[in-house]
């Protein structure tokens, strides 16, 4: 499903600021896998996601999705298979456009955007039903401009837009970190609901160790551009936050943003 | 890689410019001409000059080369043109119109600079510098105001339309006001600072004005059709020189710029022959005849009979 082989990414090659963000990283995901990613700052988690999405070109290695080598594919073409939810809730939606316009754009992902009308009456009805599945009442405000909504509502919409077309891979980059605890929980619940319903292959970065254990069927811990620990299935479920902390300290990595709960 | 590319480009450009520069300056006499804009008047001044000099050079059995530069009526083009001209080390520089003359005079003290089509050389500081000579195209402003009175006998109020940043025009408007005061005519200034304002300013000239006067102004000369087009009240449009008639001006009493150019060429001939140029001959006023030009449409609009036109021509001494 997702096959990453020997991925290496270096920033500022040959300069004083050279930083090797990813070193010879390999990862395999089967369809339906939900893997949580944890690690200290600078471990390379976001870089990994950005490489999968195509925002960065890689220096070495390959990325294969569903048997197709996408290593050299530009970001906007790759968006057909890879969708993302960013940490900043304002980044996932176009502020000046309406809810239904945003969703229409998401639904056209991968298609040619010609001179056909963006939101036809039929589209409008269909999109309303889709938004209703969020259970947030937003289906009654389809023509409201997105900039009038709260961060949590916008993030929920971004999540919907990212999963509407059932992409091959869903990338979640600390997507609840900027939300208040109550809203964060709601968005995580939605995440679980949608990914389970769709059997969505997902990678989720989180700084919350408890969430990392609770959600998903796989867990990887990164440090210094490498995967230093992996757990799946039962082994993962049996993990405790203390186990993970110990692992961190074993590698000598103090993280100042660890949330203990 | 990008750096290498940039260096190659710069080197090529330098090489090409050197080749071009060397390629010039092959004739016996080399003259750099810097013309402010592509107007009829300035073109005629260039033509009159080059023709006279070419004839003289032929008589002398010498070859002469003219390098022509045009600033396209844009102030920021003048300095680079002058620099290139000076870099060629010509035998003399012929600067047509004030911006070119002032810039050239300010940038060289050994190459002879001959100016023309400058209304007020003294005011521009062109007088007193050793290497500067030229001819002024000072407008017969007073006579032009008299012409207005002849064409519009009941004239009580004249609108002056000009570009506020052209000193030529400001000087001429000052002189026009003096003449109008003598003739007991009221006046009002309509100054424009950029081309996109012209249409609206002209539209705001009310019907209570009996005539519009435009001095020899470069910006207005370029946009004379705009003025004519916006002149919905059909107010008589008297202009400073003949080149502005084709674009919509009604009438003028004009200097013949070709003759002016030839007059300037005489100074050049003296210099090139190694003769002394006396102080009196350095800075000259136009010595030729004035031309009365009235467009056919204007004759109709003003209701002029052919006898009246003939009478005017006799008065202004054709």
């Amino acid at each position: 499903m997702l096959d990453i082989k020997n991925l290496t990414k270096v920033f500022g090659k040959g300069t004083v600021n050279e930083k090797v963000a990813l070193t010879n990283l390999s990862l395999h995901l089967n369809e339906g896998d939900f893997v949580t990613v944890i690690g200290g700052n600078g471990a390379g988690k976001s870089t990994l996601l950005n490489c999968i999405a195509g925002v960065f070109a890689v220096d070495e290695g390959s990325i294969t999705i569903n048997g197709m080598d996408v290593t050299k594919m530009p970001e906007h073409k790759r968006a057909r298979f890879v969708s993302r939810v960013f940490q900043d809730p304002l980044l996932g939606t176009a502020a000046d456009m309406q809810i239904e316009e945003n969703l229409a754009i998401a639904s056209q992902r991968g298609q040619r955007r010609g001179l056909g009308w963006n939101v036809t009456k039929k589209d409008s009805q269909h999109l309303k039903e889709v938004v209703a599945t969020l259970g947030l009442g937003l289906e009654n405000r389809m023509t409201t401009k997105v900039n009038l909504l709260s961060g949590g509502q916008r993030q929920a919409l971004t999540l919907l837009m990212a999963t509407m077309n059932k992409p091959s891979i869903l990338l979640l980059d600390e997507h609840t970190a900027a939300l208040d605890p109550k809203t964060a929980q709601k968005v995580l619940d939605l995440t679980r609901k949608i990914t389970t319903e769709n059997n969505q292959t997902t990678i989720m970065i989180t700084h919350n160790m408890k969430d990392a254990i609770t959600y998903g069927n796989k867990l990887i811990m990164m440090s210094d551009g490498k995967i230093i620990f992996q757990a799946e299935g039962e082994q993962k479920q049996k993990l405790t936050v203390a186990d993970l902390l110990e692992k961190f300290q074993q590698i000598g990595d103090e993280n100042d943003r660890i949330l203990l709960s | 890689m990008k750096k290498l590319f940039a260096i190659v480009i710069v080197a090529t450009l330098l090489a090409v410019s050197i080749v071009i520069l060397v390629g010039c300056n092959q004739a016996d006499i080399n003259v750099e001409i810097i013309q402010f804009g592509n107007f009829d008047a300035l073109n005629s001044a260039a033509e009159g000059f080059t023709q006279r000099l070419e004839d003289w050079a032929n008589e002398q059995g010498k070859t002469i080369h003219f390098e022509e530069r045009n600033a396209n009526a844009t102030a920021s083009n003048v300095a680079p043109s002058v620099q290139s001209a000076i870099a060629n080390q010509p035998d003399l520089i012929y600067a047509i119109a004030t911006p070119c003359a002032v810039n050239a005079a300010g940038n060289t003290t050994d190459i002879p600079v001959l100016y023309t089509a400058v209304t007020n050389p003294t005011g521009e500081g062109l007088v007193g510098q050793d290497n500067v000579y030229g001819t002024s195209d000072m407008n017969p402003v007073a006579l032009q105001i008299e012409l207005i009175k002849d064409l519009v006998p009941n004239v009580k109020k004249i609108a002056f339309l000009f570009c506020s940043s052209e000193t030529n025009s400001v000087v001429q408007v000052g002189m026009a006001k003096v003449q109008c005061a003598l003739m007991k005519i009221d006046t009002k200034d309509f100054a424009v600072s950029s081309a996109s304002e012209i249409a609206q300013v002209v539209a705001s000239i009310g019907e209570d004005f009996d005539a519009i006067y435009i001095p020899t102004d470069n910006m207005l000369a370029n946009s004379i059709s705009t003025v004519a087009s916006a002149n919905t009240h059909n107010i008589p449009l008297i202009v400073g020189e003949a080149g502005m008639i084709a674009g919509g001006g009604w009438a003028t009493l004009s200097i013949n710029y070709k003759l002016l150019g030839a007059q300037t060429a005489e100074i050049a001939i003296k210099l090139l022959s190694g003769q002394q140029v006396s102080d009196a001959e350095r800075h000259q006023m136009y010595k030729g005849a004035l031309e009365l030009v009235i467009s056919e449409d204007a004759k109709t609009a003003l209701g002029l009979t052919s006898e009246q036109v003939t009478a005017l021509q006799q008065k202004y001494g054709e």
Partner: protein, 309 residues
């Protein structure tokens, strides 16, 4: 004193039609600037060049016998091509947007003079321009024809823009301008959208140039001086006059209205009894400040009322 006021008042009334005509023609330029600056969020400085390009192409073609409608079409296309090239410079050569626009403006200066065969102006007096033709055929005064024709063009342009930005392609362009990262994440090729968007905005600038050249019966190399400032001022005035969060078509109409108001304020400044023409810019600035402060005071007043209510 009363007579002075009377003259001034009559002067203002008399000049309102010409102010509206100017506002409508330059309003089309403002719409072009709206598309690049507001919708696409690109600071495109090239409109000074493309407006003149449109004027020059129309003038040269019509003066040489080409049908005026065809001339207008060719002018618009040439403006669009220039805009597309600016877009290419910015997206593919990674030249910052402002610089790309300035480079295009420089390049067009030379191109425009070439088109005029080295002259700095082309006269359209008595040539078969759209305005002259209609004025002769319908026997209506030129100042009235100007308003009718320009209003028609403005309405057509607004309708076309409104339709276009409701299509999938148009929405993709809006998304690109609104949130570049999101657009790319949604599979939009943002480079091509920027190029298309700039092509449209510069095509409009060229259309405005074509109409202005016909209005003035003249195209010059400096006819567009300060165009971008005029365009931006019109947009800002329009936004201040009307309340926020209007439907898209109303925002577009607001740009045209802003342009007309801008011209009317200039006209007002020109009619001030005690001012010389070179005071015009200062008076325009003062009047604009007054106009802005009225809207600000109005908004504060509404807020106070809302508090007390």
């Amino acid at each position: 004193m009363l007579n002075l006021l009377n003259v001034t008042f009559m002067g203002i009334l008399r000049l309102i039609p010409s102010g509206i005509g100017e506002g409508l023609a330059w309003g089309i330029l403002a719409l072009g600037v709206y598309i690049s600056f507001r919708v696409l969020d690109v600071a495109d400085m090239s409109v000074d060049g493309t407006l003149a390009l449109g004027g020059v192409v129309t003038a040269v073609l019509v003066a040489n016998g080409t049908n005026v409608v065809l001339a207008i079409l060719i002018s618009v296309i040439s403006g669009a091509v220039a805009g597309a090239i600016t877009g290419l410079m910015h997206t593919k050569l990674k030249i910052p947007a402002i610089l790309s626009g300035i480079l295009m403006m420089f390049a067009l200066y030379s191109v425009n003079i070439h088109i005029m065969s080295g002259k700095s102006n082309v006269s359209l007096l008595k040539q078969p321009t759209l305005l002259n033709l209609l004025s002769d055929w319908l026997q209506i005064d030129r100042s009235v024809i100007n308003i009718i024709v320009f209003a028609l063009f403005a309405a057509l342009v607004i309708a076309a823009i409104y339709w276009f930005f409701g299509t999938k392609l148009g929405s993709a362009i809006r998304a690109t301008g609104c949130n570049l990262q999101m657009a790319r994440a949604q599979g939009i090729d943002t480079d091509s959208k920027v190029i298309i968007g700039l092509a449209i905005s510069n095509g409009l600038a060229a259309l405005a140039g074509s109409l202005i050249a016909q209005k003035d019966s003249n195209a010059t190399v400096d006819m567009a001086s300060g165009a971008i400032v005029i365009g931006l001022a019109s947009i800002v005035i329009g936004e201040l006059i009307f309340k926020k969060n209007l439907p898209f078509w109303a925002k577009l109409a607001g740009v045209i209205v802003g342009s007309i108001i801008y011209r009317l304020i200039i006209m007002l400044a020109l009619q001030m009894p005690f001012a010389e023409t070179y005071d015009m810019k200062l008076i325009t600035a003062i009047l604009l400040v007054l106009a802005m402060s009225v809207t600000v005071i109005k908004k504060r007043h509404h807020k106070k009322e809302a508090k007390h209510a």
